[in-house]
């Protein structure tokens, strides 16, 4: 295995993915959840552009990546809005606690 740029980028994508998934599994704070999703999505954006470069259709990869960035930003915004409202309503951001509350 040589350290060509492509191999390095593949490694980076997989690692970002892994760290993101790991974070999703262990995080309990709602705001941090949104952040971890962002990390995961960075890996996805990188992967899309990477795939576009590999298949010789970088334009398609870029446009899909742009869509993903927009969608992901909206997810962050809505998620944060939810988190703020949840904090106001229930007084906690702990996911397991919220899901057992009845409100």
């Amino acid at each position: 295995m040589s350290l060509t740029p492509l191999n390095i980028v593949l490694f980076g994508i997989v690692a970002l993915f892994g760290v993101g998934f790991y974070g999703l599994l262990i995080t309990r704070n709602l705001i941090k959840f949104v952040m971890v999703l962002q990390i995961l999505i960075k890996g996805v954006v990188l992967a899309l552009v990477f795939a576009g470069k590999l298949s010789g259709n970088l334009g398609l990869g870029q446009s899909t990546a742009a869509t993903v960035i927009v969608a992901d930003t909206i997810v962050a915004v809505v998620g944060l809005a939810l988190a703020v409202q949840v904090r106001r309503r229930f007084g906690t951001l702990d996911v397991p606690k919220i899901s057992t509350l009845r409100g």
Binding site: F21, L24, L25, I26, T27, R28, V95, P96, S99
Partner: protein, 583 residues
Amino acid sequence: MALILIALIIGLPWLGALTVLAAGNKNPKWQHGLAVGFSLASGLMALFLIPFTSSRVALDLWLGPSFGSLSFVPDGLAVSLTIIATVIGSLAVIFSVDYMRGEAQLGRYYFLVLFFIGAMAGLVLSGNLLFTFFFWEITALCSYGLISFYNDDPKAVAGGIKALIITQVGGVGLLVGSLLAYANLGSFQISDLLSKANTMPADVLSIIAFCFLIAASAKSAQFPFHTWLPDAMEAPTPISALIHAATMVNAGIYLLARFFPAFESVPGWMEMVMLAGIVSALITAFMALTATDLKRTLAYSTVSQLGYMVYAIGAGGVLASQFHLLSHAVFKALLFLSAGAVIHSVGTRDMTRMGALGRKLPYVRNVFVIGALALIGLPVFNGFWSKELILEVGLEHSPRWAYGLMLLGAALTAFYTFRMTWLVFYGSSRADLHVHPAGLWMKIALGVLAIGTFTTWLLFGGLSGTLAQSLPTHHLEAESTIHMVEMILLAPATWLALSLIAVSLALFWFVGRGFALKESPIWLRELSESSFGFEPVNTFISRGISGLAEQLRFTQNGQMNWNILGIVGALLFVLAVLLWSGV
């Protein structure tokens, strides 16, 4: 111009749905007014669309290679169904002003009704199979929401779930068929499927054809999915009139008629279509003989009449089926709405407790009798011409036994319709029911439909002209109304059918009247209750899916981390399988 009209026809009801919600349940007057206004405007736009009927694409919005283009085609088939959906929709909304007065959660009710009207128009106007599917699902969703509108009644909830699951079986059929067509043609456009059907491999085409037949049967409550419609009668009555008699159940007929040219050459397809129609028409007519619930009786008769349309398509009579669809939509909406007026007045749906209501509700009786005569198929009413046309087509293009069975069905229709009318409006008063008169808005809606029942058969010439001109692949021939009248009046088959109906009426008058109130024979009742043995099948599908969902609930416990572990675990599984198989 056509584009603007189509946008308004679909957009106005949807906009209305949002404004009704925005008006809030604290202002019921505003909600009634807005709903009536927006639905009437949409109906008006649909009428304006008539001069623009053509097979040309009105809108062609390119959405990229994987989706094709969002297109709308205002051809004859689409425009006639759009008019039925919006005009009868607005009449049902007008009727609701009186029927739903004082009910809670009017916003939800009108939102779903208006959302439905727009989606139904979109379903028939769409020129892209994918969007047809989307609109198809929206109508199923609205139908579910409205059947279960009284959501504190377990029967209504169960009926809604059953209708939703059974129509979803149809939705899956439509989706699979569309995706197969896309996989082979590379396009979701309906026009491509119609014109290039012969270029597809024969086995793929026949799979698509039968998938679409399943979709149509499930949506139109045809055999073997005929059991959800009677259970859907828990909905408020204007909804039964609009969705479960005049519009949504016609979506299946529309699908069969639309793709008839593509599938006509598939071996066995026409025979299966015909068989589904015959079986549905007959067994539900038998079931209607014993039912004591007014709305259920009407629901059985709806399935039976839809069976006639399906039979007509199976016999190659697309025009006859569309003509009967138009007549049926008008007179069945009339019957349902007047039944709604009766139910609203006396507060029960049990026909054995009614009787002699004609004296107390003369207006409702008059319009109900008009609808009933059209359903029986007596001359001058629209039901007569269209049903005779179907029988005519059947005599020419289907085996004699099929024709004979459909004649028997016509006689049974006369019998149960007469029984129903007699039980509700004539005879002796059996229970001391408090009757309060029908409201003005109800009378307006009923009056318009009653006039329609007298006159819509005059539209035959126009309907056949536009269908023939705007559906080039269907190879239909335009006929004038006068020619149709001549043909039907001179055909011996018509007189045969009429004499059978007369015999059936006489049989009821001299023999059946005494039995109408008695318990029907136990075997007949049991057979009806089990929908001729198919109730268990449908219940199995519906219960099975609900039960499976219930069993899987523990996986959705709301613990986000565990749910994500499930997702990651599934990803791991998929990756492992892929690696193991050496991809």
